[in-house]
């Protein structure tokens, strides 16, 4: 995937992307919640 073959490095990329998305989605959903 994208020139990478080590599953641990791919996992780090994927988890990094997912955690950014998690922060973004959480922020949007709870934008007006206390």
């Amino acid at each position: 995937m994208f020139g990478l073959s080590d599953p641990w490095i791919i996992a780090a990329y994927v988890l990094t992307t997912l955690s950014v998305l998690l922060c973004v989605v959480y922020g949007i959903i709870n934008w007006n919640k206390d």
Binding site: F2, T16, L22, G27, N30, W31, K33
Partner: protein, 530 residues
């Protein structure tokens, strides 16, 4: 070197910093304003301020350089800094810390802990740990930033150190946390755009994402023999499981810094500056994207710099800088980016160093002025004016001690000192902080025992077992006649956080289960609104 362009950029930058300090100074009227910005800071400022305080020169230069040497395994730290350092910190720690801080009227981390457990001992001990150990971290960041100024502007080291320290001293002592947070938000914005440009430019220059990664994978045969013997398997692979390099990467760089983030007093205090849980939700979005732009970009670009040096000089990044990790990112910027970007990036790095340092000095100042001074003068009626005065004295002492360390410590200490302070802070503070906001059953004795054993077990490990510190410090050698106590693998490379934190956590829980609980009314009051 285009001095006109460089000077223009510097003058604009220093002018903006001075303006931020002035805006903070103008709106600072009370001790509350000075220490937690009156609890009324907007989420954009808070998130950028948190991020800019978190990410220092050490993260970009030190850890980015480590990625140049060790490879993309450093991306695990990016994952931890976003998932643990932002998501868990904001959602699971931030809201409860803010609510409890407000209920108890706490303005600093030691004060929050002291009031949560109704204990002067916990209050004082936490403040002392901060006041004693933080200058080490601040001194190290100071060295990194001053060395960068020295290289970039051709000034001598002493002049760089003094100019840089004076700049920070002025706005931290005048503006309080509002000045710190406003300028952090400005530094954060500069850092964000600088790093995004760096990422795009790097991938474009190397022919695209897949092409760049493939070229880096193809360099596996060029791994230096010394690193190969330690477990290095190429820059797009993790080190060999269980090897020395694997332990350094996973225990010190990824877990040590990734988990240590949760118990950083200068970051925890940011939660008490926002006006609502809503602000923290919004800050989570901004913080996640920001931290990715910092650590993600630094580590990806650090690793990919190998391809650039291979294409231009036919060697690895480490070989191009003569073996010094800290020079990889600066040299990469200098040789691959347009001149104007090199100047803007220099400002980005100084911004990162300044924002982290100003927060550290602020935390040290409040530890002395707000925590230690007020605790010692409990019976006397201390006025707000006195508190601010003693906070300023604390900041000045912190700055002087850090400046002295700036002269004394060697440059290679920067990344190590960062991990050292993160480890000690996590072992000392994390169990009582985490359980304090979640578990009503934790007792005063449990929290105290965990804090003391955590602090001392982490220090013991640093002084006597962890080879990287124990050997150069020489205390173990003086006492036991050998550089470190346990020589069998993997112990000399296991980070103190993996020893101190579990011990502290277990002790906190066991002692809490065996000792007298806190008064029920006090506990209910602490958890009001949670």
């Amino acid at each position: 070197m285009n001095y006109t362009l460089l000077n223009t950029i510097i003058v604009i930058y220093v002018g903006l910093i001075a303006l931020m300090g002035y805006l903070g100074y103008r709106s600072t009227q009370s001790a509350g304003d000075y220490i937690v910005a009156g609890g009324n800071v907007n989420p954009f400022i808070m998130a950028l301020s948190y991020g800019a305080a978190f990410i220092s020169t050490s993260a970009i230069i030190g850890f980015g350089g480590a990625a140049g040497a060790f490879g993309m395994g450093l991306l695990w730290l990016t994952f931890f800094t976003i998932f643990v350092g932002v998501f868990i910190a904001f959602v699971f720690f931030g809201k409860r810390t803010r609510t409890m801080g407000n209920t108890l009227g706490a303005m600093t981390f030691p004060e929050l802990m002291g009031k949560r457990y109704n204990s002067s001992f916990i209050h004082m001990f936490s403040a002392i740990v901060i006041f004693v150990f933080m200058p080490l971290y601040a001194g190290a960041v100071l060295i990194g930033a001053a060395r960068f100024l020295e290289t970039a502007l051709g000034l001598n080291y002493t002049t760089s150190l003094i100019i840089f320290t004076a700049l920070i001293a002025v706005y931290v002592t005048t503006g309080g946390i509002k000045g710190v947070m406003y300028s952090d938000a400005l530094q954060g914005s500069i850092m964000f755009f600088g790093m995004i440009f760096l990422l795009i430019f790097t991938y474009t220059q190397l022919g695209g994402v897949t092409e760049a990664h493939t070229a880096l994978s193809d360099m596996v045969s060029m791994v230096p023999a010394k690193l190969k013997a330690m477990g290095h398997q190429g820059w797009t692979n993790m080190p060999l499981f269980g090897s020395t390099l694997w332990w350094v990467l996973v225990s010190t760089l990824v877990l040590g810094v990734g988990i240590g983030t949760l118990a950083q007093p200068q970051l925890a205090v940011k939660f008490m500056t926002v006006k609502s849980g809503k602000s923290l939700n919004r800050a989570c979005l901004i913080g996640g994207v920001f931290i990715f732009a910092m650590t993600g970009v630094a580590f990806i670009v650090g690793a990919l710099s190998n391809v650039h040096f291979m294409n231009t000089e036919g060697k690895t990044a480490l070989a191009a800088v003569g073996g010094n990790f800290d020079k990889i990112i600066p040299l990469y910027i200098k040789t691959s980016m347009p001149e104007w970007f090199a100047y803007v990036f220099m400002i980005t790095l100084l911004a990162a160093g300044i924002s982290t340092l100003s927060n550290l000095f602020h935390a040290m100042g409040t530890a002395l002025g707000k925590d230690i001074y007020e605790q010692l003068n409990k019976k006397k009626n201390t006025s707000s004016r006195h508190t601010i005065l003693f906070v300023r004295i604390g900041i000045i002492i912190g700055i002087i001690v850090s400046l002295i360390l700036g002269y004394q410590l060697p440059i290679s200490i920067v990344a190590r000192a960062t991990a050292m302070f993160f480890g000690i802070a996590a072992a000392a503070f994390l169990p009582m902080f985490m359980l304090g906001i979640y578990w009503k059953g934790i007792t005063r004795a449990g929290a105290s025992a965990g804090m003391v054993t955590g602090t001392f077990s982490a220090l013991f490990w640093l002084f006597f077992v962890h080879a990287k510190e124990a050997a150069p410090l020489g205390i173990c050698n003086a006492v036991f006649g050998k550089p470190f106590l346990i020589s069998s693998a993997p112990w000399p490379v296991v980070d103190p956080i993996l020893i101190g934190l579990p011990i502290a956590l277990i002790i906190t829980v066991i002692v809490s289960l065996l000792t007298r609980p806190l008064e029920a009314a006090h506990v209910e009051n602490c958890f009001q609104g949670i």
